[in-house]
């Protein structure tokens, strides 16, 4: 009896729930316990009944109208967007091109922004490069001489470059 209380809950275990050791001990117990064999047979019979019942219930249900019912619950404007067609009781969905045209009609500002975006980006890049570029913006001096000793003074009016005597006295 004590063994059955241990192994009875394992009879309903799903594949993978038991460890290898538990599964082997359950198998040994089942081989010598008629009561647990009977319980296992009952469990399998009930499990099969439930599965069959669910499958039959699903098969009896008719899903052929499902998509129609979903479309009927959507706002009409979402798939018949042309305002000029509002008076027509058509329920035919538009093609991809028709939906694009309808979207453009309803979102003119967004369409205009989409068209302008590349041009504005190009203008912004041009202005940025024109203003900054790779060089310094305000003041930069680089002086080199092989015979004289350059000296640069920064005055309020601009750079002043002086050439002093070089080390060779040139």
């Amino acid at each position: 009896m004590s063994d059955c209380t241990i192994y009875a809950p394992m009879l309903t275990a799903r594949p993978g729930e038991l460890s290898g050791d538990e599964a082997s001990r359950l198998h040994v117990h089942l081989a010598g316990c008629a009561a647990c064999q009977a319980r296992l047979a009952d469990e399998r019979a009930v499990d099969g009944l439930v599965a069959d019942g669910l499958a039959r219930a699903a098969a009896r249900r008719d899903f052929s109208e499902f998509s129609t019912q979903v479309m009927a619950r959507l706002p009409v404007a979402a798939w018949r967007p042309d305002p000029s067609d509002r008076g027509l009781p058509t329920a035919e969905p538009l093609g991809a091109l028709g939906r694009l045209r309808a979207w453009l009609r309803r979102h003119k500002l967004a369409a205009a922004a989409s068209a302008l975006a590349p041009a504005l980006a190009a203008v912004a890049l041009y202005v940025y490069l024109d203003n900054t570029g790779s060089g310094p913006a305000e003041f930069a001096v680089d002086v080199a001489s092989e015979t004289l000793a350059p000296m640069v003074l920064d005055t309020s009016d601009g750079p002043l470059v002086l050439l002093g005597e070089g080390s060779d006295g040139a």
Binding site: D130, E138, F139, S145, P159, V161, L163
Partner: protein, 147 residues
């Protein structure tokens, strides 16, 4: 669709302006190049035509200033302009690039193997000594973009 059409037209207009702006930038900029002679001797003073350079000239040890040459013409990019000095030497000035408010010049003095690269703002000017001092005198050039 009227608004969309206007937007597309505006974008096309902006796009068409870019090459025109680039072409305008490629034509160069007006530049004034003057040759100056500074002396340590003589009565202190700056020639009236050089008054605009007073702040820079007063920072040197030369007390007497005269103008020895004046060249006022548009410069094209990377096209050297040779400026002759009264002592027979020459200076080569090249406009390397210009942006909205700055210009970059290269000044070369072949005789002393001196080379300068200077970037200045639109309202500034370069004063550059181009000869070594001889007898208390030296020659300078001053460069001003968009004079």
């Amino acid at each position: 669709m009227t608004r969309l059409t206007k937007a597309v037209a505006l974008a096309a207009g902006l796009w068409s302006l870019a090459p025109a702006a680039a072409a305008a930038a490629d034509s160069g900029i007006p530049v004034r190049i003057r040759v100056l002679k500074g002396s340590r001797q003589g009565p202190p003073g700056v020639a009236p035509v050089l008054r605009d350079l007073q702040a820079q000239l007063s920072a040197t040890a030369y007390v007497h200033w005269e103008q020895a040459g004046d060249l006022n013409a548009p410069m094209k990019f990377k096209q050297p302009v040779s400026v002759a000095l009264p002592d027979g030497e020459k200076v080569v000035v090249t406009l390397l690039e210009s942006r909205k408010d700055t210009a970059t010049f290269e000044v070369q003095v072949p005789s002393s193997r001196t080379q300068s690269r200077l970037t200045i703002a639109k309202d500034k000017r370069i004063v550059h000594q181009v000869t070594a001092e001889k007898g208390g005198e030296a020659y300078f050039v001053t460069i001003r973009p968009w004079p």
